[in-house]
Every structure is written in C-alpha cells, then in structure tokens.
C-alpha cells in the first residue's frame, strides 16, 4: 500500500461515519416539515368531528404531541436509537411492524425491475455504443428516449389497456388472486402473474435510463487510446468490448444506479398505486393523506436510510474497482 492510500476497510468505515449526520439531518428535516404543516392529526383521528377541549387534551397526551416541538424531537431521536419508531395513529400497530410487513412486496417489485432493467439496459447500451450512429443505434436510442420520456403512470395504464383489457391475460390489481387460497408453487405462479405488469412498467423506464448511461460511458471508452492498443495487439472484439471497455464502464454505471435509487422509489410509488400493489410506496401515500405522522416519519427515515446506505455501498464498490478513490 502506498503512502496516503487508505485500506478499503478504513475507507468503508469513514464513508459509513459520514452517513450518520446525514441521516440525523433527514430525521430532523422530516420532523420539522411535518409539524410545520397546517392542520393536525387530532381532528383526523376524530374523523372530522370537532373534538371537545378535554378530548383533544386526552388524545394529545396519549400520543405525546402536547409537548413543545423541540422536546418531541429530542424524545423521538432518543427512541429511534432503541429502534422504537412509535405507533401508527390509525393502524394501532407499531411503525416498524407495518413497514416490515409492506417491505417484501416493494423489494420484490423493485428488485425484479432493477435486475431485468440493468441487464437489458446494459446489453442494449453496449450494442448501441458499438454501432454508434448506425441504424441499430438510432433505433435503440430513440426507443430509450421514448421510454425515458413517457410518464410512468401512463405506461402502466397503457399496459393495462393492452394486456388486461384487450388481451385479457394478466391481472391488473393486487399481489394475489383473492378468490383462491393457493399454496406452494401455485402461489408463486400467481404472484408472478400479478408481478408482471407492475414490474414491466418500472422496467420500461429504468432500462431506458440504464441504456442511455451505458451508451454514453461505453462510447467515451471505445474511443480511448487503450482500446486502440488492445485492438492493435490483436485481441478479439469480444475481449476488447467485455474485458477492456465494459470493465471500465461498469463503475460509473453502478454509480448512476445508486444515484437514481430515489427515482426508482418514486417510480415504485406510482406503480404500486396504479396496480394496487401492497408495498411501501402506497403505504407512504396513504399515510400522508391520513396525516399519520409517526408512520410518515418512519417511512421517510427508512427510505432515506436505504438510499444513503446504497450510495455508500456504491462508493465502496467504486473504491474496490478504482484504488485512486482511496487517496486523500
């Protein structure tokens, strides 16, 4: 190891430590934002009926919202340290339980879409960059630009029209068929059928993004001197593309993947709402409408934490690929 270069472990630890203040800032910001908003949860709890002063005082005391904002915030931060995110105002369950319940469907949806899009987008991007400014590149680029420009909720609607209304082969809503209590393999098949349209909507947009990024990075690299050298050495084209060019394009592509995670979460929210997918995105939307403050803060914390962690992971992977990053 050269002077000034940190070990990968030290680098990883350093990046993780940098993430902590960020997370605390997210919590504070969310907390303040929610509490600045006009309107209050008590009148939502009483379903629009004007609560009597006694009733209001009782509810406020019960949920701990009678204290000054600053005290509430400090207490909240303290409780988070012990893993306690409070109770949902409406569901009578702990925030952590609700989130854990809604997490698997979202992960299933997002992972399926991310996996397929990444592979599909990268392959198309490489083909496009290799045949730059030829017909196949134009076709792929235009397709990607359309996929990138189409509003996700509309793509979902068009898919519903095509696959559910006209062809009638895929279900449009939910995660399981409620009419049959399937188990084992049948259940998996049923879930896969329900997963098809939501994940296809998400894939449509995200593979377009991945394709565009791959094309740009690969075309930069394909013009560099070391690719010329590799070709001059008489390496096969496959080796030049996969072994030399793609290896160097991979790190920046992964960075984009990490950076766009927030956008994928946004996409998942939209898709979950259209297709009635019982995930986190829909939960977030519902809890905002109901002013379920503990649940909103909990989800914000959780989603931001995931985004921060994924980005740290991406940085660490980057450092593995490219040791220069580790220099101070």
């Amino acid at each position: 190891m050269k002077k000034g270069q940190k070990s990968i472990l030290a680098y990883a630890l350093n990046r993780l430590l940098q993430g902590i203040p960020m997370i605390i800032m997210v919590i504070i910001l969310t907390f303040v934002l929610i509490n600045l908003a006009p309107g209050d949860p008590v009148s939502m709890m009483t379903a629009g009926i004007d609560p009597t002063p006694d009733m209001r005082a009782l509810l406020e005391k019960q949920w701990g919202i009678d204290e000054p904002l600053f005290v509430q915030l400090i207490k909240y931060l303290g409780r988070i340290l012990t893993g306690d995110f409070g109770m949902s105002y409406f569901q009578g369950k702990s925030v952590v339980d609700i989130i854990l319940e809604r997490l698997p469907p979202t992960l299933l949806l997002m992972m399926t879409a991310i996996l397929i899009s990444t592979i599909f987008g990268i392959v198309c991007g490489i083909i496009s960059a290799y045949h730059m400014y030829k017909r196949i590149d134009s076709v792929l680029s235009i397709a990607a630009l359309i996929g990138y420009s189409a509003p996700l909720f509309w793509v979902g609607q068009v898919l519903i029209i095509v696959f559910a209304v006209v062809l009638d082969i895929f279900p449009v809503s939910g995660m399981h068929d409620l009419r049959m209590a399937a188990t084992g393999f049948k259940k998996i098949l049923d879930t896969a059928k329900h997963l098809f349209l939501p994940s296809l909507s998400l894939t449509f947009w995200f593979s377009a993004l991945m394709m565009r990024v791959t094309r740009t990075k690969m075309s930069d690299i394909l013009q560099s001197d070391y690719i010329k050298t590799a070709r001059a050495k008489g390496l096969s084209e496959t080796k030049v593309i996969m072994g030399h060019a793609f290896r160097n394009a991979l790190a920046p592509i992964i960075t984009v993947l990490g950076f766009e995670l927030g956008a994928v979460v946004m996409g998942a929210t939209v898709v979950e709402t259209i297709f009635g997918w019982p995930g986190m995105g829909r939960l977030m939307y519902e809890s905002i409408l109901r002013r379920d403050y503990p649940l909103i803060t909990g989800i914000f914390f959780f989603v931001s934490l995931s985004i921060i962690l994924v980005n740290i992971l991406v940085d660490i992977m980057y450092a593995v690929f490219d040791p220069q990053v580790r220099y101070e």
């Binding site: 203040p21 960020m22 800032m25 997210v26 910001l29 934002l33 929610i34 908003a37 006009p38 309107g39 730059m132 400014y133 235009i142 630009l145 359309i146 990138y148 420009s149 189409a150 509003p151 996700l152 909720f153 509309w154 609607q157 068009v158 519903i160 029209i161 559910a164 209304v165 075309s219 013009q223 950076f259 927030g262 979460v265 946004m266 929210t269 939209v270 709402t273 259209i274 977030m284 939307y285 905002i288 409408l289 002013r291 909103i296 989800i299 914000f300 989603v303 931001s304 985004i307 921060i308 980005n311």
Partner: protein, 293 residues
C-alpha cells in the same frame, strides 16, 4: 463612453458569432431539429389554445364514452367532455410549470454551486452537505407531503418542484467553479479589484453556462413529469385542466374509454420527448467530441 460602446459592440459580435457557430453544430443533429420543431408546435398550441380547441373543455353535453370520431377527434370521457379540447388545454399548464420550475431551480443551483465552488472551505462543506441532503431525500415523497399538507396551489407546485430539483445544477456549477477559479483571467479580475459578485457572475459563470443550460432543459423535462405525477395523485391545482389530472380521471375508464387515457399520455410523452431531444442535441453541440472526428 465611445470606448464603452465599442466594447459592447465587440462583445455583441462575439456572442452573435458564437451563437451562429453553435447553431451550425446544432443544425447537424436531425433528432435535435425534430425536437425543436415539436416543441415549437407545442408552444403554439399553448398560446393559441382558445382558437385551436373546438369546444369548451368543461362542456359536458356530449354523449359519454364516445370513441374518436369526426366531431370529437380524441373521443369523449365518462362525463361527456371532449378529450381533444381538454388535451389542448393541458399544454399551457405543462409548459408553464416546466419553464418556471426549470428557471427557478437553475437559479438556486447557480447561487449555491457558485458560492460553494468559489468561496470553498467551510461554506463549500456546509452547502455541499445541504445539497447531498436534498439528493438522498425521497424527493417524490417530499413533494407529495408538501403538496398535500400545504394545499395544491398552482404556483406552490412549481415552487415545490423547483426546491427539489436544484442539487444537480449546484454540483455542476460548483465543479466548474473549482476548476476555473485558479485560472489567470480570474486572478486578473481580482487584481483589477473586482468584487466577489462580479467575479462569480461576470467572469466565471459564463464559462459554466452551456452545461447549466443543458441541465436546465433536463430539469424542465423532469419537472413536467413530476407535475403530471402530482396531479395524477390528485395534488395539482384542481381549477386547471392538466394532463396528469386527465390521466388520473381516466384510471377508472381504461375499459370503457381507453382513449381518455391514451391521448393525454401521448401529449405528455411528446412534450417531454421534444425537450429531451433538444437537451441531447444541445449537449452534443456543446461537447462536439463524436461527430467532428
């Protein structure tokens, strides 16, 4: 005084010359020209909406759920309103939201990125932490949250989108400033006694502008998409007809009147597509590395 006018004239000629050269490069990109043409048509539609739309978009006296025909080009919806007139009406809302959000967020980005990059040290650290914070926030959730808590006003939505879209511009401007501030022309400006504002805005910023403009066009595209998404969730201005709201209304009509979803969606697609085509072409014209080999 004459000297000053001479100076202005040379500057003008220089600018005109570079714009002309820029246009020469832009012109070579067919996709960019198509994008520009599409965008121009959309702007015309937005300006001449009352002349173009054949019916009052609120008129609900037509038969319901009519498929596209000679009278109602895009068909009618479940309340018997003309989908074509409503789609035309939506152009203005989308373009105004896109333009204002892009402009405001670019301004915020320039200020934050410029000061962070030029002053550096502590200021840079704090401003960049704030930028990072805005990038890790689940932006769409924040937008839903603010729009639903503070009420869905038209300008409020624009403000929300602007407040969430500046980080990338800030990073871009900062990077440009970091690399430019050590250059000779900046030291020269300092030596003749220019203050920070003059140096930031007159000396360094013009060099960073091309990239900022490209990025601004991309922000416009995402802003239009975000506004449509918010309206889709029922968080737009309820008094204005927007494409997102139309799609939200047609969610239940996918079986009975699919055209009520298809046409407004195509309108959003074409608008965003045209802006992205322009953005790509601007980018190619500014960084002409591929075609001019």
């Amino acid at each position: 005084m004459n000297d000053f006018i001479m100076h202005l004239k040379t500057n003008m000629n220089l600018t005109l010359g570079s714009i002309r050269r820029f246009w020469q490069r832009y012109k070579r990109n067919k996709a960019g020209l198509i994008g520009l043409g599409l965008f121009t048509i959309l702007v015309f539609i937005a300006i001449f909406t009352p002349i173009i739309s054949p019916f009052d978009p609120l008129d609900n006296t037509f038969e319901t759920n009519l498929p596209p025909n000679n009278v109602n080009y895009f068909g009618t919806d479940d309340l018997g309103r003309d989908v074509f007139s409503r789609t035309v009406q939506g152009a203005g809302v989308s373009l105004i939201v896109g333009a204002f959000a892009s402009f405001t967020s670019t301004l915020i980005g320039i200020f934050i990125g410029g000061f962070a990059g030029y002053i550096g040290k502590g200021v840079d650290l704090v401003l960049m932490k704030i930028t990072e914070l805005f990038q890790v926030l689940p932006q769409f959730f924040v937008a839903i949250l603010i729009a639903s808590f503070f009420g869905p006003g038209f300008w409020g939505i624009i403000l929300v989108i602007s407040l969430l879209s500046w980080p990338k511009t800030a990073r871009l401007v900062r990077a440009e400033f970091l690399s430019l501030k050590e250059q000779e022309f900046v030291s020269a400006a300092k030596t003749v006694g220019c203050n920070r504002f003059t140096i930031i805005f007159n000396e360094i910023l013009p060099s960073a502008m091309p990239e900022v403009i490209v990025n601004g066009s991309l922000i416009m595209a995402t802003a239009i998409l975000m506004q449509a998404s918010l309206s889709f969730f029922g968080l737009g201005d309820p008094s204005k007809i927007s494409w997102g709201k139309m799609l939200s209304d047609s969610q239940g009509l996918l079986r009975s009147a699919p055209w009520a979803s298809i046409f407004p969606g195509i309108a959003i697609l074409l608008t965003v597509l045209s802006i992205n085509l322009i953005g790509d072409a601007l980018n190619d014209a500014i960084n002409p590395k591929f075609r001019e080999r």
